[in-house]
Amino acid sequence: MPIISDIDRKSAKGRAVTVWIYVSLILGGITMVYPFLVMLTGSVSNGFDYDRRDPLPRYVWAREDRFMHMLCGYFPPAHRASLRQLRQYFPDLPEEWSIWSQIGDDTKASDQWAGKQLARLKDPAQRQCLETAAKDYADFMADWDVTETILAYDNRYIAPFLRSRYGTLDKLNRAWQMSIDDFAKVNASEWSGEPIDQASYTPERDVRYSDLLEFRKAYRQNQFTPYLKDGGATAGYLRPAALRFIWEDYVAKQDEKLKSADLAALPFPVPVDAAPEMLARWHGFLLTEFPMRHIEISVQGRQQLFQQFLQDRFPTVDYLNRVLAGTGQAWTPVSRWEDIKLTATVPDGPLGRVWMDFVRTEVSVGQWQIRDTLPEQAFQKFALKRYGSVEAISAAYGLKLASLQALGIPFGQALLTTFGHKEWAFFADNLGGNYVAVIDYLLHRGLAVRNTIILVLLAIFITLTVNPLAAYALSRFRLRASEKIIVFCLATMAFPAAVAAIPGFLLLRDLGMLNTFAALVLPGAANGMTIFLLKGFFDSLPKELYEAASIDGAPEVTVFWRISLPLVKPILAVGMLNAFIAAYNGWEWAIIVAQDPKIWTIAVWTYQFSQTLTGAPYMVMASFIVNSIPVLLVFLFCQKIILRGIILPQMK
């Protein structure tokens, strides 16, 4: 009953009190809801907007944010120089943008930039050019060599891919020469960012690498991203390993006056007939920074020189064999220097780096040829073949190309049109992606779901048996030692739980029960307080019921099941609910007594997520939400049970 009566409410003072109470409740309500909204928004965000900690995901209503969100998926923060690579497709991307969260923080600037890009989509003439370029990009990419590509992949597809490829872990371990115990633990971090921009990088062509190439092909066929399959989505997550940006950076370092527009107009690769200063600069670049795997030389008359070079590096043939054979890469020992032949392009295997150093020091840079493995050069040739002239390309793409070499890979155009066609597919992916990843993880790693169900059922079963049985026995029958038994049960409460926890852990070990469900449920199975409470309720049932039942000749079990238990149902229901919540949410005891991932429940996995996935807080937030859903549902459906199960103490 309210203390403030209706009469009070009519007075000014009473009204003031009521208003004050409402204000407090509203403020309190906001503090209750706000953190949840931030968490919910966090769970549908990515590296771009997680750090905003907004209560609502802005990309739901802001198209600019949707675009940035998509770009963040293509150029994820964890990958090598991802924003720098983005800038080579969008030259007007502000230079000071160096990390995604910083872009997300500056809503105004990011809106402005994204708005500018999206305006290109709206204008029909520009749209036409964009579509043309995107179409060409798709055609070019369709049979581009996958070794020269970069993949913005999702980690969660690796495990299923390898599982389908190898079947068993043993086969994988043997092939990859490692030993892991779970497909999901395969560390393939190098799959995202091979150092394609490093001068002396060449891929090591082993099993791992060929698997990577297969993975890339699967991505190119949109095996993992069905929403990109058709309908104008030209930009897949696999893109050519364009290198223009290292050239731009090289020039920018030498000539600080140049603006990004000037850099974007630079020829790449620089043709042999370029102006001498440009050519000199280009040669400097080739010698220091340009990846040597794109270089080809003529071997004519250089074999002798190469031998000399080898002798300088490896004083004797024996040295050479010992060094190269011990690198773990394939090497057939040679007996004479002459057996090693100079190749026109970088050889596979351990000799690769030697070849590079030889070319750098012994072959004049003017005689180097750029191979068609360089994506820019290949695309330029591709476009020239399709359109016939630089002017025609310019017209088709809506660009003002000074030369053919100024043409870059039109991945930016492809991204824009893909966004234009698939805006809502990306939106759905953003909204659900983190959740799908978390659920996928829970289903495929360990046996989280099975364990949780077992544990919850066990906990409920025990709640319904151990304590009620004891309480019933104490209430129904007059026993010689009833009181003593109750004291026996209650007295453990007098000592702190901490005293018993450590020996309890040791006892579990001695019984061999660690890492079993027994360790999780048995120690808390019986509880003196609960027995005491239940006994009180059984006591309050009318004795006549029992008498009537026993006169009818009903066995005790029937009396217990069919008469007594149903009468204390509300209390038992709350007990069951609490047992469910405790079993479902429990992790503190579990991390002590059940360290084996095989019996971890969802709650323990959630804990583990939060401790290990620090690099992807949005995934952690999604795992929090996933973890909360069952409890949420139970509470929504069981509100009545809770309210009916409240028990109040009354003085006797």
């Binding site: 009953m1 109470i21 407090s24 560390n187 010992r322 004891a470 929090f624 409890v631 028990i647």
Partner: protein
């Protein structure tokens, strides 16, 4: 009836399900040798391991990983697994702690032991007695490679004449990495690195540009990076005292000393040393003081000579300083506070800046190509030793070391017969030997040689592989450093190894170094902190308190213990008598067995999980509990140690603070909320549901969600919300959980927030049960609102409040609430409540006995309250509330 079927069905399902789960261990004789994460078992394995696996197709090498603990408790997962007998086969931790706890399996059967010749016969000296020198000598070892291990490392891994560990491969050193370009640009010559603190700080300042934010040096608070600085003072963190047999004086030697000559000329190398932690000595303090000086000392740049000039406080007040006989006047804006940056990001992120806006960084490196993948060109990278404190101290390089041991759980594996077990042990030993073998990194070295990078490698590796010719090409700075090491011009040290260094170093970092480097470090009194730390280190963290000290207090302790035991017994008797007061008539006693059967599960369960642990806990409190083997009885030692430990009183005080704060907030909020919800005429259910929201998720989620909100950067949710307010006063974002002033409130708030809604339900029901007539009568009497509350409402709900209060008090006292996840007791020891301290002692430090003793002390403090609680319980009836 339906219910029963459901239950039966559930049981069947359960049984089927558990049985259906495939048992992975059943596939014959497949051995999984596990190794802790210091060795990466999941990468491509080097040749030497591949050969082994090819030769033993039934063996797998697996990575051992336990549950991840919060950073400060990261060592707990290994300790807990060891205690649970499911530890890794090959692991790494404090050697001496592992030996003391018997976690490591001695390597005697492969290496041999002191005093036993390689052929198994005892080694005798001239007098015909066992010749023991504590070390395994060349004639004693059965393993050819043993003598190839550095003497210092042999000393480290040998405890009481038995070898327990092997040093990990790799000759990495902790030194000061530098960028040659940046040094040369500032006119500094890497061929002549600074030899003293003063020269070093001059370099650091010359390289520091506060305006452009380019740093000469950055420091981290990690202890391993700090340890070499202690060695530069000529002292060490751990020292050994040896009593001279000739002159009777006690002489102190460094931990890693190799010669033991007393000033009187006597050789004391045969004297048994006593080890102790020495961090508060003037020398070790000087090293911390140097960190402080680097971080906080004010200085100016003299414009005419372009030399940095350090300022005293007096100089700063005066506004001028005398330098080389000249008076330099400066304005307050010229003064620079501190000369370094502090690393707050991941090490690799800092390292990426080397050569750009950072010139020097103390870190480990095996050779100069180590960080090539981070974009640091090997020809720009150099390493110099840590400078000596003054010209009489040698510069220092610290060999960075880790040691692998064989876990005691190998004894349980491999099969049932001793032969099978021995075969398994041999496999594990072979694997460990290969993991630690220097050949493991040979492939990498050869690749680097093939790539023309031989000149950046460690000359020792090149010589070992027979590639001596490459030494000619080595850059002079690099060669000079390696040569100086070989010539003994540099002091080569390892991280401390006596005592529980790994355990100590967490404390060293948390309680001293981090607090010097923190933004609040300027006011930090490191002298006192070091003294406290040294005391703690010598009384448990690093070395146990000597028995004699404990014995001294024993008589007094016995008297106190007797009193406490009496006190406890008194309450126990009181509780039992109180509970048994009701007289029972013997008439009509039921004679059947059925009730006993029904009681059996509960009573047996309480006996097993309630009483047995209590009894065992009582015994443990008087033991020195060992995870493996027999635990000796130590009488009252645990309690004496606790009583002598000032930290105990701090924990107690912190617990009281925690409880008071918690009760003040968490206990009252639901009551007030219930009043509010009763009083609002409309939207009651809506508000109730709102406040109930936190209940619909788990405590884990609530806590971690708040942790995310408390983030101390500008991006933290709370800091973002407060940004306009903070901006008004030009304040920095608050480091909520790192600041001693805010942390206590912060660890309590989440539980208050989460418990308000659910807690208010019971009060709501209670308020509803107040008879309406009473209010009406009071209204007629003209009672005010407050008067009605006081005279009608409060008396009705009083029993409920009382019961809840006592329960909450007892519960809060024992709990560690959200502290485990939010702060793990930090910063420093600011939130180390009893519950947390017990957890840490037991599961991180593996001192189960001490932890149990703490728990018993906690229990005796609470027993009065528990008595009250039980008394009240017996006086009330519980009735179902009238639902709505």
């Amino acid at each position: 009836m339906r219910l029963r079927y459901c239950l039966v069905l559930a049981c069947l399902l359960l049984a089927g399900w558990t049985a259906a789960a495939p048992d992975q261990a059943s596939d014959g004789k497949l051995f999984r040798i596990s190794v802790t994460s210091r060795y990466n078992a999941q990468n491509r394995q080097p040749q030497i391991i591949r050969e082994f696996l090819a030769a033993h197709p039934n063996v797998r090498l697996v990575q051992w990983d336990g549950i991840k603990m919060p950073a400060e408790g990261s060592r707990a997962s290994l300790a807990m697994a060891m205690a649970a007998n499911i530890g890794p086969d090959i692991f790494e931790t404090d050697i001496r702690q592992a030996v003391e706890q018997r976690l490591a399996y001695p390597l005697t059967e492969w290496i041999g032991e002191d005093g036993v010749l390689a052929n198994g016969k005892p080694k005798l000296n001239k007098q015909g007695k066992r010749d023991l020198n504590g070390q395994i000598d060349s004639d004693e070892t059965k393993w050819a490679d043993w003598m190839k291990i550095k003497p210092l490392y042999r000393q480290v891994v040998t405890v009481n004449g038995k070898a327990y560990a092997l040093p990990n491969r790799g000759g990495t050193y902790v030194g000061i990495l530098y960028s040659k370009t940046l040094l040369r640009k500032a006119g500094l010559d890497p061929m002549h690195p600074p030899k003293t603190y003063d020269e070093f700080i001059r370099w650091v300042r010359l390289l520091y540009d506060p305006v452009k934010k380019t740093y000469g040096l950055e420091l981290t608070s990690q202890s391993w990076a700090f340890a070499p600085w202690v060695a530069t003072t000529g002292s060490s963190i751990v020292v050994q005292d040896r009593k001279c047999t000739a002159c009777g004086k006690t002489v102190t030697f460094n931990e890693q000393a190799t010669q033991f000559v007393c000033p009187c000329g006597e050789d004391v190398s045969r004297v048994v040393p006593t080890w102790r932690c020495n961090v508060a000595s003037p020398e070790c303090t000087a090293a911390v003081a140097f960190y402080y000086r680097l971080r906080w000392a004010p200085w100016i740049m003299d414009r005419s000579t372009h030399e940095p000039v350090e300022l005293t406080k007096q100089d700063v007040d005066n506004g001028y300083v005398m330098f080389r006989g000249k008076r330099i006047v400066f304005s307050p804006d010229d003064v620079v506070e501190g000369s370094i940056g502090v690393t707050t990001t991941a090490l690799t992120d800092t390292l990426k800046r080397l050569g750009r806006d950072l010139a020097m960084y103390p870190l480990w490196a095996g050779d100069m190509t180590e960080f090539q993948n981070l974009g640091i060109p090997p020809d720009d990278l150099g390493m110099m030793p840590f400078p000596g404190m003054n010209s009489s101290c040698r510069p220092v390089l610290q060999a960075s070391n880790s040691f692998f041991m064989i876990g005691k759980d190998v004894l349980r594996r491999g099969g049932d017969t001793p032969q099978e077990k021995k075969a398994y042990r041999d496999l594990v030993w072979d694997m460990m030997r290969r993991i630690c073998s220097p050949e493991g990194s040979d492939e990498d070295i050869r690749r680097k040689v093939a790539a023309g990078q031989a000149k950046f490698l460690n000359p020792r590796d090149l010589e070992r592989l027979g590639f001596k010719d490459y030494l000619r090409e080595m850059p002079p700075e690099n060669l000079q450093m390696w040569q100086q090491i070989e010539a003994g011009k540099l002091l080569e040290v390892v991280e401390p190894f006596m005592g529980k260094w790994l355990q100590f170093r967490d404390f060293y970092q948390r309680e001293v170094i981090d607090l010097v480097l923190r933004p609040s470090g300027k006011e930090f009194d490191y002298n006192t902190a070091l003294k406290d730390l040294e005391r703690d280190a010598n009384t448990g963290i690093m070395f146990e308190r000597p028995r004699e000290v404990l014995d001294q207090y024993r008589p007094k302790a016995r008297i106190i213990a007797a009193f406490i035991a009496l006190f406890l017994a008194f309450f126990t008797v009181l509780i039992i008598r109180d509970q048994m007061k009701r007289t029972e008539s013997k008439a009509g006693v039921y004679k059947g067995w059925l009730p006993w059967l029904m009681l059996l599960p509960a009573v047996a369960s309480i006996a097993l999980w309630g009483y047995y642990p209590l009894a065992r806990g009582l015994v443990m409190a008087f033991q020195d509990y060992k995870v493996v083997g027999r635990s000796p009885f130590v009488g009252l030692s645990n309690f004496i140690s606790i009583a002598l430990d000032p930290n105990f009183y701090h924990y107690l005080f912190t617990t009281f603070r925690f409880v008071l704060w918690n009760l003040g907030l968490a206990f009252c909020t639901p009551i007030i909320l219930a009043f509010f919800l009763t009083e609002v005429p409309r939207f009651k259910v809506f508000f109730r549901t709102l406040f109930f929201l936190p209940q619909m998720t788990s405590g884990l989620v609530v806590t971690l969600m708040w942790k995310e909100m408390y983030a101390g950067t500008a991006q933290g949710t709370i800091n973002r919300l407060l940004a306009p307010i903070l901006g008004m006063w030009d304040l920095k974002p608050v480091d909520w959980l790192g600041n001693p002033h805010t942390v206590m409130a912060c660890v309590i708030l989440p539980s208050v927030w989460a418990a308000a809604g659910i807690g208010s339900l019971i009060y709501l029901a209670a308020l509803k049960s107040v008879p309406e007539e009473l209010y009406e009568a009071a209204n007629i009497d003209g009672a005010t609102i407050l008067g009605r509350i006081r005279h009608i409402t409060l008396p009705t709900i009083a029993p409920l409040v009382l019961i809840n209060f006592v329960g909450a008090f007892i519960g809060t006292f024992q709990s560690m609430g959200q502290i485990f996840l939010l702060t793990f007791g930090g910063p420093g020891k600011e939130t180390m409540v009893m519950g947390m301290a017990i957890w840490q002692e037991a599961y991180v430090n593996m001192r189960f006995s001490l932890a149990t003793s703490y728990a018993w002390i906690l229990g005796s403090i609470l027993i009065g309250f528990t008595y009250m609680q039980l008394r009240i319980l017996r006086r009330v009836d519980f009735r179902q509330a009238k639902g709505d």
